[in-house]
Symmetry: C2
Subunit: 564 residues, 2 copies
C-alpha cells in the first residue's frame, strides 16, 4: 500500500496519520510471518499449552496470535479453572462411559502406531487445558490420527466400547468446547494437514481438517487468492476447528459465514461411518445439505476430516480509516452510509467506545490517542479492500467527506501505509489483551440487532454503577458486540448484577448469547436463551440419531438433561 | 444507465452496440414492471395454471416470466405428462396414506373458513399441474392457510389422520416437486404474503413465505436494497418456495447461495409443531443451525412459513458486455481474469456455445447475430454491478482491453443503454424458450467442475452423432451447465444414448445431477449419482425422525425404498 493524500476538502477535517499510533512493529492481522512480533510482550516462546508442539512442529505450526499476557508457564491468579462470566454448573461424569484399559491402548497403538498414541503427562496436561487456562480435563490419552480411515477406526472402536471422546484441532476455542471435561479420549487431527487440491479457475480449495488457517492463507496468497475467513488465532487454529465452530472473524462482513463458503465436508460419525459430503460445487441441490449440520456443531455430531471451501481472489488495494463519532446513532448511520457508498469495497466496520479507548491507552504499550487532544464517545474502524487503488481511495475519500459534511463523524485519520494501518488495527485487536491486563473481566460475545446493541451496554452501566467498568466494542457491521465488565475483583455481587440479566436482555431482543464463539461447555445450559425449546428438542433428537451413545464431545453444546 | 463510449484502444476491437440485437422491449431480467412484455409471444394473459388467481390477485400477483411457448389453455403434444430427460419410474400410491372424507373437509372448513378450502375442479386442475405440464396429480383438496397457526393446525390434523400433503407456493418448479403425485392435499401458502419487518441499517428483511419474489424486489428497491437472488420466474415464485428449493438464479455468483443469505426461518413440522428459527442475526453460534435442513429439502421436512434474509444495498451502476471466444479454454481463462480484474464488481458470467446462438437466431423473434458476420465457437455475457459508474466503466474497459490483447476474446460488444443490455440478456435468457420452440428436448441441469464442464458436451456430441443437436449454455461463473439435447422426436434410442451416461459422467466427475432445480419427483431415485449411500441413509433417517408418517411431499427428493 503506497502513501496517499487527501483532496483539500477532505484534508480540512480528516487528518493524515503522520505518526505511528503505537510502536508495535505490526498488528497480528497484517503481519503473518513473524511469530515473535505477535506474541504480545511474552518474554519467550509460549510453549505452555502443549509441549508436544516441539515434537510435532511440522504439523502444528506456531501459536502466534494469543492475547494472553500472563506468564506462559505458570498459572494466572483469579481465572485459572474459573468459569468466569458464567455461573458454573456442577457436572458429573456420565457413568455410562467406559474407562480406558490396557486393551484399549494396545488397540490404538496397533492402528495408529506407537508414536501417535500419547500418554506422556506433560503433553496430556497441555491437551487437557484450554489456551486461556479456564478449562481443564483429565484425559489419559491423546490420539493423533493421520487419515480419515484412522479417525474412523478410532471412533468405531470407542463407540463399541462406549468410550467418550473430544475432537481437538488447534485448541484455540474460548468456551471449553475443545478440551475434555473428565477423562474423554482426545482425538487431535493436527497430523491431517495436507492440501488435497486447488482449482485456480473456481478458487475451490480442498484440504484436510488439520491444516492451520495461516498455512492455508499463505498457500492461497502465492496463488492470488485469500481465505474467506481470517482470525486472530490463525497461526494455531485449524480449518476443521474453524468449520466445527463456524468461526466468524474479520472477513465475515465481506465474504459471509462458513455456511456460505464451505462447499463440502468429509466427517466421521460416532460409529465410524465416513460421510462423504466433499462436494466442490457452487451449486448442488440433491437432497438435504447435511454438511451444515457439522458446521458449528462443535464436534458433537461428527469429526470433520476434510473441507472444501470457496476462496475469493486476492485484491490489491487495502485502506484503513479510524473515525470519531459523537454518539451511537451516528455509528449506526455511518454503517448504513458505508454499505451504500463504499458498497462492494467495504471489508470491515468495527467500533469501540470511549471506555475501550481509555483501556487501550492505559494498557497497550505504545498506543497513543489517535485523535487528540480529548477522547471521543465512539470510534469506528473502516477497512476497504478492492481491485483498484486509486478508485478505492477516491471512493473512500468521497464517502468520508460526505460523512463529515453530514455530521456523522467529528474527526478521523486515514492510514498512509501498512504500518499505520497496523497501528490502527492494533487498537481494536489489542482490546482483549488490554482487558486481561486490566484485571478480572466478565466477557460476553453477543449478537444483537444493530439498532439495539448499545442499549444493553448503557443499561449494564446503570445496573453496575461504580462497581465495575463496562467496556464495549465489536464487529458492528455484523451486529456482534463484545461486552466486557472489567472489575476490581471477581465478585458474586457483580456477577449477580450481570447474569442472568445479560442473557435475558439478549433473549428478549432476539439476540444470540454466542455470536461466534459457540456454546461449548460454558454455555451448553444457556441455549434456551437463544433457541426455542422445540428447536433444541430437534437438535437433541439429531444428536441422539447420529450419536446414540453420546460419545462425541459430551457435556457440550446441548443441556445434558435433553440428551440422556 | 447512461450511454457511454470506449477509449480509442478498446474501440479498435470492441464494437459499440449501436443497434438493438432484438426487437424485444425489455428482457425479463431488467424490466419487472410490464408483465405483458415478458410473456413471450403469448397471445393473451396466461391464466391456465390456476384460474383462482383471478380471485386472489392481491395475493398471487402475475406470472410474468414463463418461457412457455405453447397454447396456454391446451396441451402441448409430446411433452405433457411425459418424464422426458429421465427414465420414468413407476410409482404406486402408498397405501398407508388415508383418503379424504367429509369429516376432513368439515374440519378444514372449520379452521380455515369455507373460502380457503378449495374443491372447485378447475382450480384443482391448475393446482395439480406443474407450469410446464409435465406432471399432474389428482388431489381433491387445496387449502389456503393465512397464518402459521393454520398451517400448524392443518399438519397436526393430517399427521394424525395420515393424510399426505404437498406444500405449494408459486408453482414454478420444474422437477415435479410442488404438485401432487396422487391425491395429496395441496397446502398453498400464497395467502401468507406479508412483509413483517425490514431493518434499513442491517438490510435484514423478515417476511412470510408466500411473498412473491418480485414484490419483495420492489419493496426493497424503494428502500435502496435488492434481494440477493433473482430468477426468471420472479413474477410468480415465492420466497418460501425459493428457500425450500434453495433457488440459485442470476445473482449467485455475486451474493452466494441462500444458505449464506437466509438468516432465519420459521417452519412447521409434519406433526404441526412450529419451529421458530427466525433469527435476524448475521452471527449466531448457539447449537445446530437447523434452518439449513429446510433450505433445499423441497418441503419434505417441514413447511417454511417465514423467512429472514440479508439483503444487499442496491448499487447504481450496471454494465453488460457480450464477447466471443474461440474455444472453451479461453472462456475459462476469461472467467479467471474477470474474477481477478473485475473483482468486487463482477455480477454475472454466463456462457453459450455456437449451437445455442444458432438456436437463438432461428427461434427467437427479432434476435440478430450480435457479432456478425459469422458465428463464433463460444460467447460470454459479463455483467458488472458497482457503486460508481465511471470507475466501473473504466475497470470493465481495462479488463476487456487486456483480454483482447491476451487473445482471450476475438470480438465483443458493450451495451450502451438498458435496452441494449436487455437485448443481450435476452439472447441468454431466451434459450429455454428457443429450445421449446425447436421441438423435443432432453434437458439436464448439472453442476460440474468448470474445467471439465464442456468435455461432457463434446462427448455427448460424439455419442449422438447426427441423431440430435447438443446445445450447451449456463452460469459458467457458478459451474452450472444447462445441457440440452434437441431432437427431431422423443426417441428411446436417443434417450438410451443420453442416460444413464449423463448421470454416470456427472457422478464420475464429482458433479451434481441437480445444480439448482432440485430432485423433486423427476430425480428422487437418481440421488445416488450425486450423494454417497451413507449420506443418503442419514438423509432418510432425518426424514423419518422429523416426519415419521412420511406425509410431507411423499415420493419426492429421496428414494421411497429408503424411507418406508
Amino acid at each position: 500500500m503506497e502513501k496517499w493524500r487527501w483532496s483539500s476538502a477532505a484534508h480540512r477535517l480528516l487528518r493524515l496519520c503522520s505518526n505511528p499510533l503505537s510502536d508495535l512493529r505490526c498488528s497480528p492481522k497484517l503481519q503473518n510471518s513473524t511469530p515473535s512480533g505477535v506474541l504480545y510482550r511474552h518474554e519467550g516462546t509460549c510453549e505452555w499449552i502443549r509441549p508436544f508442539i516441539g515434537q510435532q512442529k511440522q504439523h502444528f505450526g506456531q501459536r502466534s496470535h494469543h492475547l494472553w499476557s500472563g506468564n506462559c508457564l505458570g498459572e494466572t491468579p483469579g481465572i485459572q479453572n474459573r468459569f468466569f462470566g458464567a455461573t458454573a454448573t456442577k457436572i458429573e461424569r456420565n457413568s455410562k462411559f467406559a474407562t480406558l484399559n490396557s486393551n484399549d491402548i494396545s488397540y490404538f497403538k496397533e492402528i495408529l502406531g506407537e508414536k501417535n498414541v500419547i500418554q506422556d503427562e506433560d503433553t496430556l496436561l497441555s491437551a487437557n487445558t484450554d489456551w486461556m487456562h479456564k478449562y481443564r480435563g483429565s484425559s489419559k490419552l491423546l490420539l493423533l490420527p493421520r487419515t480419515t480411515e484412522e479417525v474412523s477406526s478410532i471412533l468405531k472402536y470407542c463407540n463399541s466400547r462406549c468410550l467418550a471422546v473430544v475432537p481437538q484441532g488447534g485448541n484455540t476455542g474460548v468456551v471449553g468446547g475443545n478440551v475434555p471435561v473428565f477423562d474423554e479420549v482426545i482425538i487431535n487431527v493436527s497430523s491431517m494437514n495436507n492440501v488435497i487440491s486447488f482449482d485456480k479457475v473456481s478458487g475451490i480449495l480442498v484440504c484436510e481438517a488439520g491444516c492451520i488457517l495461516e498455512n492455508l492463507i499463505s498457500f492461497l496468497d502465492n496463488r492470488g487468492f485469500i481465505m474467506p475467513l481470517d482470525l486472530g488465532a490463525k497461526g494455531s487454529c485449524q480449518i476443521g476447528g474453524n468449520v466445527s465452530t463456524n468461526a466468524g472473524g474479520l472477513r465475515l462482513l465481506r465474504y459471509g459465514s462458513l455456511h456460505g463458503n464451505v462447499l463440502g465436508l468429509e466427517a466421521v460419525l460416532a460409529n465410524g461411518e465416513v460421510l462423504d459430503m466433499l462436494g466442490t460445487l457452487h451449486k448442488d441441490n440433491t437432497g438435504y445439505d447435511l454438511k451444515h449440520l457439522f458446521i458449528g456443531s462443535e464436534g458433537s455430531l461428527g469429526i470433520v476430516t476434510k473441507v472444501s471451501i470457496l476462496t475469493p481472489p486476492k485484491l490489491s488495494s487495502v485502506n484503513v480509516a479510524f473515525l470519531a463519532c459523537k454518539d451511537y446513532f451516528s455509528c449506526q448511520k455511518l454503517l448504513l452510509e458505508a454499505k451504500r457508498k463504499l458498497g462492494e469495497i467495504l471489508s470491515a466496520f468495527e467500533f469501540l467506545d470511549e471506555q475501550s479507548m481509555t483501556l487501550a491507552l492505559n494498557h497497550l504499550e505504545g498506543v497513543r490517542n489517535p485523535l487528540p487532544p480529548s477522547l471521543h464517545n465512539f470510534y469506528v474502524l473502516i477497512e476497504t479492500t478492492g481491485s483498484n487503488e486509486s478508485y478505492d481511495r477516491e471512493k473512500l475519500e468521497a464517502f468520508l467527506l460526505s460523512a463529515m459534511e453530514g455530521g456523522l463523524i467529528s474527526d478521523g485519520i486515514v492510514a498512509q501505509d501498512i504500518q499505520q494501518a497496523s497501528s490502527i488495527w492494533h487498537i481494536r485487536e489489542g482490546l482483549p489483551e488490554a482487558l486481561i491486563k486490566a484485571g478480572p473481566n466478565y466477557n460476553y460475545d453477543l449478537s444483537l440487532p444493530v439498532e439495539k446493541l448499545y442499549n444493553l451496554v448503557e443499561e449494564m452501566r446503570t445496573r453496575l454503577d461504580n462497581l465495575a467498568t463496562v467496556v464495549a466494542y465489536g464487529h458492528l457491521g455484523d451486529g456482534n458486540l463484545h461486552l466486557n465488565i472489567s472489575a476490581p475483583q471477581y465478585d458474586d455481587a457483580i456477577l449477580a448484577q450481570i447474569e442472568p440479566f445479560v442473557y435475558e436482555w439478549t433473549s428478549k431482543n432476539r439476540g444470540s448469547i454466542s455470536a461466534e464463539h459457540g456454546l461449548g461447555l460454558m454455555k451448553a445450559n444457556k441455549i434456551l436463551y437463544s433457541k426455542s425449546p422445540a428447536a433444541v428438542n430437534v437438535m437433541a433428537s439429531i444428536k441422539k440419531l447420529l450419536d446414540p451413545n453420546g460419545i462425541l464431545n459430551p457435556y457440550k453444546v446441548l443441556p445434558q438433561s435433553m440428551i440422556h
